[in-house]
């Protein structure tokens, strides 16, 4: 069982959360001038990394807020969680 720490509600079972998606994909900085390739990449192209990965989850049966989760895709260990605006990978690397 994966346990995810919601920044508001605390440690809860992952069954209370919905997986939203890859948190490393960023919307094109200038949407007006972005070409089709940039939009295609942003909307459809996803890596399937082995190891540490940043992803969005939503605490759907709790406070319904979005949560950013740093998870190891091999061991399913949740290394860090935070608000959607947090850069977890940066702070995780800094703490190591």
């Amino acid at each position: 069982m994966i346990r995810i720490k919601c920044p508001y509600c605390g440690l809860r079972d992952h069954s209370e959360f919905n997986y939203i998606g890859d948190a490393t994909k960023l919307r094109p900085v200038n949407p007006e001038v972005a070409n089709d390739d940039e939009w295609f990449d942003y909307i459809y192209v996803r890596d399937n990394p082995r190891g540490v990965h940043q992803e969005y989850w939503q605490h759907i049966t709790g406070c319904r807020s979005y949560v950013k989760v740093l998870r190891n895709t091999v061991t399913h260990e949740v290394l860090k969680t935070g608000l959607p605006s947090d850069d977890l990978l940066f702070s995780y690397e800094a703490e190591k």
């Binding site: 508001y8 509600c9 605390g10 809860r12 079972d13 209370e16 049966t61 709790g62 406070c63 807020s65």
Partner: protein, 205 residues
């Protein structure tokens, strides 16, 4: 053909559990029932949501209306004699009280800010109250939350999955809890609670 004008009677407030609760004592009762189950009906429930962290004006309006502050820390509630305000998410609260007045109109008349959403959920939620010495053990059977009296204090509230149903559980007193659930799941919740309470012996009121 001309349309007929129908004069419809006003809609009567009917509980989702009307006619479903058989009062009496059931299950493994030795001396006293470990659980007492009853339905809270009718309740006035209003949801408030502000787009941004609440402004001072909003906090003052609520304080003037109910004579206490909205809870700002997660999973807590504030309470007066009859009204309870529960934190249900960032910048979101539920105001709950037994139906004695038109709560939604009262709140709407006091809050003029258009960025605050005010929703009447009175008909959308059902509530079951459980009391008795074994309530915390019963809750543990349905939710992966620490219900120890030192961890789950009075006026503490959680939204979680309770027997796989999305529920809001609120601690009213040492062993007295309110469980709020979407109306359509009320009967399912009641049956799950009754089934879980059988080993402790229960009385429905």
């Amino acid at each position: 053909m001309a349309d007929k004008t129908y004069i419809l009677p006003p809609i009567k407030r009917l509980s989702a559990l009307a006619g479903q609760i058989e009062s009496g004592r059931f299950g493994n009762i030795k001396t006293e029932p470990g659980i007492f189950i009853k339905e809270n009906h009718p309740l006035s429930i209003v949801q408030l949501e502000t787009r941004e962290p609440p402004a001072k004006d909003f906090l003052t309006v609520i304080k003037n209306l109910f004579e206490f502050d909205v809870p700002l820390s997660p999973n807590t509630s504030s309470v007066s004699d009859k009204t309870r305000i529960i934190w249900t998410g960032p910048n979101r609260w539920l105001i709950i009280e037994p139906e004695t007045r038109d709560l939604i109109s009262l709140v709407k008349s006091q809050i003029n800010e258009t960025s605050i959403s005010i929703v009447d959920l009175s008909h959308a939620r059902s509530s079951i109250e459980i009391d008795g010495s074994m309530t915390r053990d019963l809750l543990l059977k349905g939710a992966a939350i620490d219900f120890h009296p030192e961890a789950f204090l009075i006026n503490h509230c959680v939204q979680t999955t309770f027997f796989n149903l999305s529920a809001l559980i609120c601690c009213l007193d040492e062993n007295r809890f309110n469980i709020f659930i979407a109306r359509g799941f009320a009967l399912d919740l009641l049956q799950k609670v009754q089934e879980a309470a059988e080993e402790f012996g229960y009385e429905t009121l």
